[in-house]
């Protein structure tokens, strides 16, 4: 037999073994604070990189597009689609530096960005920050409103219908969610506009950004999103309903409504919270469509017009803005997630 001699050196007070407790008394100790700080710094650095990356992609894409930018600018100013003579183009090229080598143009642009200067719109002659700032609120209204409405719709549908005895009720709920998730927004928007605004006249057709005129666009964006959030929440809700801790709560004498609202819901919203970060970014894509259907001002319209006119500073500005929103949204999502599920913290 070749076993080595028994090691008998005590290494740890044996009592510790009997009082096992992994929990830290103070979850926000110094070390943790440092870790959190590092995470924030890391995030900011990553965010800056994301923004620069997005700007670079846009810059290159738009600069390298076929066709001549100066020609486009001139033509857009006159509403014609013709070729231009070198003499006509020279002043424009001079003004915007289109003649410089690409590297110089890029360096100038990024240099400006780093100084916080987003540039000036070719089309509107106004600083990009102003262009975006002016259209921010209508789109924010739309996106946040849609997110909130989607949450309400999804939660009501799930809490009321998920996991019920009656299969018909459950099927109705999940069917409604699947339907909602499958409805294209543009189509829904057109139908809502015609039926509710033009025919029934319940809502203004062109109220701009007034609250009444915001209802339909918000609904249009919210319904499909509610479908997605609802599906994600329902899956989780169904799963959680069968968790032991739910039975445990029932065994303490809790009723069904109490169980749904106090225990299950909180767990079930977690996937939907995660989805919301993505959704806020994706809502801008939806806004492009919805703003066009409902003739609403906003970033979506700015973006379409700027891409159409190859207004590079504006396009890049909008993209960076959206990227920033995405980054911030995900930080918020993390926060919300941590609020709902403090397990994340550790």
């Amino acid at each position: 037999m070749s076993a080595t001699a028994p090691t008998t050196t005590p290494v740890a007070p044996p009592t510790e073994a009997l009082a096992v407790d992994a929990s830290p008394a103070n979850p926000w100790g110094r070390a943790r604070l440092l870790v959190a700080l590092r995470r924030v710094v890391g995030r900011v650095v990553a965010a800056v990189l994301v923004l620069l990356g997005a700007a670079t992609v846009v810059f290159l894409a738009q600069t390298l597009l076929p066709g001549d930018r100066a020609t486009l600018l001139l033509n857009l100013r006159s509403g014609e689609a013709v070729e231009r003579t070198a003499a006509e183009l020279a002043p424009i090229n001079e003004q915007y530096g289109f003649d410089d080598p690409l590297a110089v143009q890029y360096a100038t642009y990024v240099g400006g960005l780093l100084r916080g200067d987003l540039g000036v719109s070719y089309q509107r002659h106004a600083p990009v920050a102003e262009v975006i700032g002016g259209q921010l609120w209508p789109t924010a209204q739309l996106a946040l409103g849609a997110l909130a409405a989607a949450w309400v719709l999804a939660l009501v549908s799930v809490v009321v219908t998920a996991g019920r005895r009656s299969r018909a009720v459950t099927a109705a709920g999940s069917g409604a969610e699947a339907l909602a998730a499958s409805v294209p927004h543009y189509w829904l928007g057109v139908i809502l506009l015609v039926v509710l605004a033009v025919n029934l006249q319940w809502f203004p057709v062109m109220g701009g950004t007034s609250p009444a005129a915001t209802v339909l666009p918000v609904l249009t964006l919210a319904v499909p999103l509610a479908g997605f959030l609802g599906q994600a929440t329902r899956d989780e809700f169904d799963r959680v309903l069968e968790q032991p801790f739910v039975t445990s709560a029932r065994a303490r004498g809790m009723g069904d409504t109490g169980v749904r609202l106090r225990h299950v819901l909180r767990h079930a919203v977690l996937p939907a919270i995660t989805l919301s970060g993505w959704a806020l970014g994706a809502l801008l894509s939806g806004a492009v469509i919805v703003e066009s259907v409902f003739s609403r001002p906003g970033l979506g319209q700015v973006l379409v017009a700027a891409v159409d006119a190859r207004d590079v500073p504006v396009v890049a500005g909008v993209v960076m803005f959206v990227a920033a929103v995405y980054v911030v949204a995900n930080v918020l999502v993390d926060l919300a997630y941590t609020l709902v599920d403090p397990r994340r913290r550790s």
Partner: protein, 522 residues
């Protein structure tokens, strides 16, 4: 006093002051002033021009009360209205006009102005505060109609000096309204100019506008736009959808303006592709029942225009050429046989030397061709397939179109387009030769004919109206014989107006809506 012009709407009762007109419009330009028709609509509300064009096509006084031209037709002298002020307080005088001309010609502000004046302008001069003198390099008979357009609206020189951003957002003129504010993507607000005293001679009244202002709302979606009228949210709707026309005529006052200039026509590429052969061009024209295609697509609302170079409402229009290419599939087939496209492949398309008779039609979807226009093209596509043409429709985005991707002769076989202009002198823009030393990219058929150009130049310089019409007519005949441009339909502007709003009219050079005379019934 109002001179000669008939109001577009019958007046009932005495005008009342007050109210704000809500105008629902289709597009929003990047700036309120510029060389695009959408910009002309807006700048018309704030800028006055030197002259105005009335219902009969006559040029009547506006900021210029009188004018004369030298013997050699080169020196124009304008007498200007006195005591007029720009809304920023700058006095309106001859020097201001000189500044505007200098601005148009030397700044890179507005290429439409350049297209009209560029080859003619020599110099301008303020003789005294009320006398302005314009010197041309060669005679230009269409000068006055051109100046009547809102592109030639006179701006305050002080304001011009503010730089492009301010001029873009808030052009300043002597007009009936001032820009009050602009919520991008949503609404442009105009306020009444209380001191307005320079209405054109064909206006219904002098003095400030009756209404307090205009809310110019941007509603691109046709359904929403027309819906705004039916729900009472808007008083005026621009561009009435063809499908709503009948309904609109019953409830609202509908005005239609047939734009003079070049109608919407298919320019055929004469230097590359199948259309280099005039027989193929003629065959294409004969293979299409354009009248039916247009009637069906526009539900009879927009008139068919057979003349591919000048539209019916233009002075100098040659009505005879409109019927030159009637729908006749047999002729088309014969022409194709003759041109060597005499066999067909198994899909029914014509072939020659193993190549299929393929035609690429590039069109600016949305930007130049409306959905109804696209329907016309699709109808044509099916019609010519009967004779053996395979048409590929290429919808081009505004970016592609305007950045020149589809400008060269290799990039398309046919391209529909239009050009609004108050005179048949537009031919000089659209069919002047495209030469190395003097390029003309507006000649979308690439059709070069020195004789034709000579005819047009002579017409443009002729001061005798009959002579001028004859020369223009001859030019149109040549172009029709060569089938370089196939007429489709006229470019139209339409308004539907709430019946409680009176005396809204469309001016005649561009079809710009005029709200100076409008008033609400109580």
């Amino acid at each position: 006093a109002p001179a000669g012009a008939e109001p577009a709407a019958p007046t009932t009762g005495e005008p009342v002051e007050g109210g704000t007109i809500v105008h629902a419009h289709v597009q929003e330009p990047p700036c309120l002033w510029g060389g695009w028709i959408q910009q002309a609509y807006l700048s018309r509300q704030v800028l006055d021009s030197l002259v105005s064009q009335d219902e009969d096509g006559e040029i009547v006084p506006w900021l210029a009360t009188d004018w004369s031209v030298s013997e050699d037709q080169l020196v124009w002298t304008f007498t200007l209205a006195e005591g007029v002020e720009f809304t920023d307080g700058t006095p309106f005088d001859a020097q201001a006009v000189v500044d505007n001309f200098e601005f148009w010609i030397t700044e890179q502000g507005n290429s439409t102005v350049l297209a009209y004046l560029g080859t003619y302008y020599e110099s301008s001069r303020a003789v005294d505060p009320t006398t302005f003198e314009l010197t041309l390099s060669r005679p230009y008979s269409s000068l006055l109609p051109a100046l009547a357009q809102a592109y030639f609206g006179i701006q305050s020189p002080t304001a011009l000096a503010r730089g492009p951003e301010a001029n873009c957002e808030e052009p300043i003129g002597t007009g009936p309204f001032t820009v009050e504010g602009w919520e991008r993507g949503s609404v442009i607000r105009f306020a009444r100019n209380p001191d307005y005293a320079s209405a054109p001679a064909n206006a219904l009244h002098q003095g400030p506008a009756y209404v307090d202002g205009i809310e110019w709302r941007i509603v691109p979606d046709p359904v929403a736009r027309f819906g705004a009228l039916t729900t009472g949210e808007a008083h005026v709707v621009y561009d009435v959808p063809a499908t709503q026309w009948t309904a609109a005529e019953q409830q609202y006052e509908v005005q239609q303006y047939i734009t003079p200039g070049r109608p919407v026509a298919l320019g055929l590429n004469t230097v590359a592709g199948p259309f280099t052969d005039v027989r193929v061009r003629k065959a294409f024209a004969a293979a299409t029942d354009r009248e039916a295609a247009v009637r069906s697509a526009f539900l009879g609302v927009v008139p068919f225009e057979g003349n591919g170079t000048v539209s019916a409402s233009t002075p100098g229009y040659n009505a005879e050429v409109a019927d030159d290419h009637p729908y006749d599939p047999d002729t088309a087939a014969a022409l194709l046989d003759e041109a060597g496209w005499d066999s067909t492949d198994d899909e029914g398309y014509r072939v020659k030397d193993g190549e299929r008779l393929e035609v690429r039609i590039v069109y600016g979807a949305g930007s130049i061709i409306t959905p109804e226009g696209a329907t016309v093209l699709q109808n044509l596509q099916e019609q010519v397939a009967e004779v053996g043409f395979q048409v590929t429709l290429v919808p081009a985005t505004r970016d592609e179109l305007f950045s020149g991707k589809f400008s060269g002769p290799e990039s398309y076989d046919a391209k529909p387009g239009y050009w609004t202009s108050p005179t048949a002198g537009i031919l000089h823009i659209t069919f002047r030769q495209h030469l190395e030393e003097s390029p003309n990219f507006s000649n979308s058929s690439f059709y070069n004919d020195p004789e034709l150009e000579d005819l047009i130049v002579r017409a443009n310089s002729s001061l005798d109206r009959a002579e001028q019409d004859r020369l223009y007519g001859e030019a149109q005949q040549i172009l029709s014989d060569e089938a370089v441009s196939i007429g489709l339909y006229t470019q139209t502007t339409s308004l539907a107006v709430d019946p409680r709003l009176n005396d809204v009219w469309l001016e005649q050079s561009q079809g710009e809506p005029v709200y100076h005379d409008a008033w609400f019934e109580r």
